[in-house]
């Protein structure tokens, strides 16, 4: 599938926002926060779709890594989003720090992130254990959202 086709699909994913798995550690987002988050989520869903289309069909860990790599490139172009951020015990730490959790994409200030986006490929899903680990290590109780390429 060409990138332009993927982008077209990406532009049709507004409905995905409604069905994405969202976990909020505490409190409710304001209407303004929700609107901004949905815009970012919309763009990141498009990035996931485009990444998947660029890599092509496949399965397994290698395929998943390729999709994550493409997603990382595209997601880093989204305003207000940082990719590949590791947290441990409420602090930002370098990749590979023992016991840390690595978020695929983070929205907002890294010290007070509003949303964490976890890209899942193939049959992988955001599990309660994943959510617990984010809640344990990431400060400011952000919303944890699963992004799945369509």
């Amino acid at each position: 599938m060409a990138n332009s086709d993927a982008r077209a699909i990406g532009s049709l994913v507004a409905d995905v926002v409604a069905i994405a798995v969202v976990h909020k550690a505490g409190g409710k987002a304001s209407a303004a926060e929700t609107s901004i988050a949905e815009t970012t989520m919309f763009k990141l869903q498009g990035a996931a779709n485009e990444a998947s289309a660029t890599v092509g069909e496949g399965s397994g860990a290698v395929h998943g890594t390729k999709v994550h790599t493409e997603f990382g490139k595209l997601a880093s172009e989204v305003e207000g989003v940082s990719t590949e951020v590791s947290y441990k015990d409420g602090q930002v730490v370098p990749y590979g720090t023992k016991g840390s959790v690595r978020a695929d994409a983070v929205e907002g200030n890294l010290e007070t992130p509003t949303n964490i986006y976890d890209l899942k490929t193939g049959g992988a899903k955001l599990t309660p254990a994943n959510v617990n680990k984010y809640n344990q290590h990431v400060p400011s109780a952000p919303t944890i959202t699963e992004i799945k390429p369509k």
């Binding site: 990719t83 590949e84 730490v93 370098p94 990749y95 690595r102 010290e111 344990q136």
Partner: protein, 209 residues
């Protein structure tokens, strides 16, 4: 990106920081020397997804906060025209990339590092940026270590904040326990300095500095 590849780039292109600014390069860190109580410099953080790329952080780490790892919370990623990921290997435009990176690093030294590289400067810079518990922790410790006249009050406020948090989270409970321990010795300068010097030595050893 392997450490050796980062080291090659630093040696070839970033020597000026080592020669002119007294920085040291070790373990993907380019930091100010002599290293005393605050680690101040740049971390070339590997990407997990792009073997040729790194994220370049300008950061400080108060070493009197006991830690078993590098902390990047007190700093920021340098962002170029192509985003936060810097391709320092297999990049046909490497020289252009470096030409973009160096001024950002110099600017980060002037605007940020030089303003937070001592405990009292750290306190002054971050005292009104208490966005989360870790920031409150670092600011409180910096006030105490730099013998701020309001240390006792700052510590009490910090403990109050912690007591309203969820102490079922292990690290939050640990922050509270340590803070309560500090409260017991807050008037004893020698005990405070001994504790913080011990933290500095142990943190340096643990993170290999």
């Amino acid at each position: 990106m392997k450490n050796i590849a980062v080291e090659r780039v630093v040696k070839r292109y970033l020597q000026a920081f080592i020669i002119n600014d007294d920085f040291i390069f070790s373990n993907n860190l380019l930091y100010k020397s002599p290293l005393e109580d605050i680690l101040a410099g740049f971390c070339f953080e590997k990407s997990g997804l792009n073997k040729d790329g790194v994220y370049v952080w300008c950061f400080v780490q108060p070493l009197y906060l006991k830690s078993e790892h590098i902390i990047l919370s007190y700093g920021k990623r340098l962002k170029g025209t192509r985003g936060e990921l810097w391709l320092l290997k297999n990049n046909t435009n490497l020289e252009e990339t470096i030409e973009e990176l160096i001024p950002l690093m110099k600017d980060a030294i002037d605007v940020f590092l030089n303003n937070v590289d001592t405990p009292s400067k750290f306190y002054n810079y971050y005292q009104d940026k208490l966005v989360n518990l870790r920031m409150a922790e670092a600011v409180t410790y910096s006030a105490i270590y730099s013998k701020n006249k309001d240390s006792k009050l700052i510590l009490e406020n910090y403990i109050n904040i912690l007591e309203n948090e969820n102490i079922e989270v292990d690290w939050v409970k640990n922050l509270l326990d340590v803070a309560k321990g500090l409260k017991l010795i807050i008037g004893n300068d020698e005990a405070i300095q001994n504790l913080f010097q011990k933290n500095i030595i142990e943190t340096k050893q643990t993170i290999g500095l």
